[in-house]
Amino acid sequence: MNINSRFNDFFFARERPFGLALARICLSLVLLSVMVPRWSHARELFSADGAAAPLSVNYGMPDFLPVPSGTVAVAMASVLIFTLLTSALGWCTRLSLLLSFGLYSYLNMLDCLGTLTKYSVIASHGLLILSLSNCGAIWSVDALLSRRSVGRQNDRRLLMPYEPSGSVYGDVWPRRIMQFLIGLIYLGAAFTKMHTPAFFSSDQMRQWMLTNVNNANPIGEWLAGYPETLVVAAYVTIVWEVVFIFLAWSGYGRPLMIALGVFFHLGTTLLLGLYIFPLVCFSLYLAFLEESDVQRLAAWFRRLARRGNRAAIALRNAVPRIDGRLPEISLPQARGAFAFAALLLVFGGVELEYQLDPFGARRAEGAYELVEIDAESVGQMLRPSEPIRDEDKFLSFEIGTDLLGDVVVNRRKEFRHGDTLVAQAVLNPPHEDMWVECNLLDADGHVIDEVGQIVERSKLRASWAYEMKASLTPGEYWLVIRVRGRNLTRQSFTLLADE
C-alpha cells in the first residue's frame, strides 16, 4: 500500500457518522447549559451598552473585534440558543452548526472574564468540525424528514441503519481531524506541564486544589494534604498526554487512552471543581466511536428487545412514535419553518430581555442605587501595601519518615529509637532568601536542638532529617519552625519507649 492509498483509506473511507452524531447532540446540549444562564446577561457581557471584556484587550488589540450594541448582542445570544438547540435536534443541521460556531466563538471573544475559557475554545473547534461533517445524516430531524421524502418513513431499520443506504454515508475525515484535535490538545497540554516544574513537584496542583475560583471541591482540598499522590499522578498524566495521539487510534490503545482520559477529566471535576470542561471533552471523545462499536451495541440492544426488555422495546418503538407526531412537511417547508422560528426567537428574545430589564433602568422605583461601604472598611483596604508576613510564606510543615518526589511521605506522629524523622516546611512564592530554623523542643519547651538553613528565593522546600537516637528519652517532643526569632508553626511527635 502506498502513501496515497493509506491517506485515502485513513481520511476518505466511507462510514455512517454515529460518533459525530452523538458528539453533535452532546456538545450542543452542554453548550446550551453554558449559554442559557448567560442569555439574560447578554447585554452586560457582550455589548458596548454593558461591560464587554474583549479578549483582544489582553493582547493589546482593543479594536480587534467590533463590540455590538445591547440589542444586537441580545439578538445574537438568542439566535445562538436557538441554533444550539437545533444542532442537538439535527434540524437544518449544517446551518445550525455553522451559526453556532460563529456566534459562540464571537460572543466568547467579547467576554474573556465570565464566558471565554479553554473549554469554549475546544467547543468552538468541535462545532466547526461538526459543521463540516454529515453528522446530521442520522439521529436528527433532518434524517426523519429525509426518510419521508424518499418514502421510507416506516423503515425502523433506519434508526440503526446497518445496511448501506447511501445518503447516511460520508467521508471519515471530519472525525479524523476531531481525533487529531483531541490528541494535539493533550500534546499541547503536556508541553505546558513541561514548562511548569511546579507541576511535577505537586506545588501547582496542590494550590489549584485550594483555590475557590471554581466550583466547590472538598475532595481536592482533602487530597491537597497528600501531595505525594499528585507527584505520581503528574508523571502518569504527562505520559498519557504525550502518547495519546499515537495510541488512541486502534487496538487496545484506544479504550485505554479513552479510559484514562475519562478518569483524568473526572478527576478534574472532583479535585478542582471543573464541571463543563470534562463534559465538553467527553462529547468530543465520541469521535473515537467506530461503526463496529455501534453495531455491537445495536446487536446487544436487539437481543434485549427480543428477550422482552421493556426499556429496549420502548426505545425501539420511540422513533416511529416521534416520527408519527412530527407534522407532515417537506424539506423545503422545514427549512422555511427554521428561518421563521429563528426570526421569532430573535424578536421574542429581544422583547423578553427588554421586559426583564436586567439593569433595572425602568423600575418603578427608579434605577438601582449604589451600595455604600463604610469608611473604616475602605480605610483598611487603602492602608499602605505591606510585605507578606512570614507565617503566610509557609504553606505547610509536616513530619514523616521519607521523601518521595521531594515531598514528605509516611506521615506519622509516633517514632521509635532508630527511626529517621523527616521534617519539611513547604513555602509559597514569592519569598526572599530566608534563614529558617527547625528547633527540637521537649514537652516542657526546652530547646534540645537548633538547626537552621538558608532557603533561597527559588526554593519552596526546606527539609531536616533527625535520627531518633538512644540519647533522646521517650516522650513528647515539638518541632518548631522559627524565622527572624519568631515561632511560626510547629508539629508534635511522640518518641515511644522501646519494647
Binding site: 461591560a51 465570565g114 467521508d171 481531524i177 511548569t196 475557590n212 507578606i388 504553606l395
Partner: protein, 215 residues
Amino acid sequence: MKRWLAVATIVTYLGVLCFGVASHALGFRQASHPGMYFIVWDMFCGWSGYEGRVHIIGQGESGRFYQVAPAPWKQLKPFGDLERQHYDPFVNHAHTIALNTLRNTQHEPMRKIMVIEETWAKKFNLPDSLWSQRYTEEKQPYSYFHLRKEYSPDGTLLTNNQSWFDYQDHLCLSDNPRLWRDSRKGKPVYQLPTIATASHETPASANHATWATPR
C-alpha cells in the same frame, strides 16, 4: 465536498493546530495575537500560593464610598461563587465594569474609582476541620490589600500601580542591598533629558522595570 477541497481543509486545519502546538512548545509568538488563544493549549499554565479578589470602589464628591462591583442588579457567577470582576487577573477590564455600573445606577457625582486587589494565602481556604488536622496554630486569615488602579469618573486612568505579586517580587529582590547598589552604579544623581530622550515619549527598551521602594 469535493476531494481537493477536503484535502485542503484537512491540511490547513491540522497545519494550524500543529503550528499552535509548536509555537507553544518553543515559546514562539504564542501571545502575539488573540487568535493564538484558539490554538495554544496552555491550560493551568500558572499557579500561585495566594488567592486574589478584585474590589472596585467609587468615591463620591461627598467623600463617601460605594461598591461599584458587583453591581446592585443580579450578577452572573460564571464559574462558581464569584462575580465576574474577580476573573480579571490583569485588571484590564475593571474600568469597563465600573463605568457600566455608574451608567445604570443612581448616585452622587463621583470623584474617582479605585481598583483594589485583596490577596490572602490559599491555605486559609481550607475548612476548619481540615485546618485543625494539618496545623497546630489557630486559623487566623489575613488579607493584603493593594491599590492597583485609579480612574476618573469618565474612565481616564489616573494611577496605575504594579500588581500585588509584582510588588512582592520586587520587595524580595530589593531585599538585597548589594543588588540595589549595583543597579544605581554609573547613574548620575540628576540627569537632564537629552535631545534624543526628550523627543521620545517612552524609553527605547521595553524592559524598564518599576522598582518597589525598599522599606
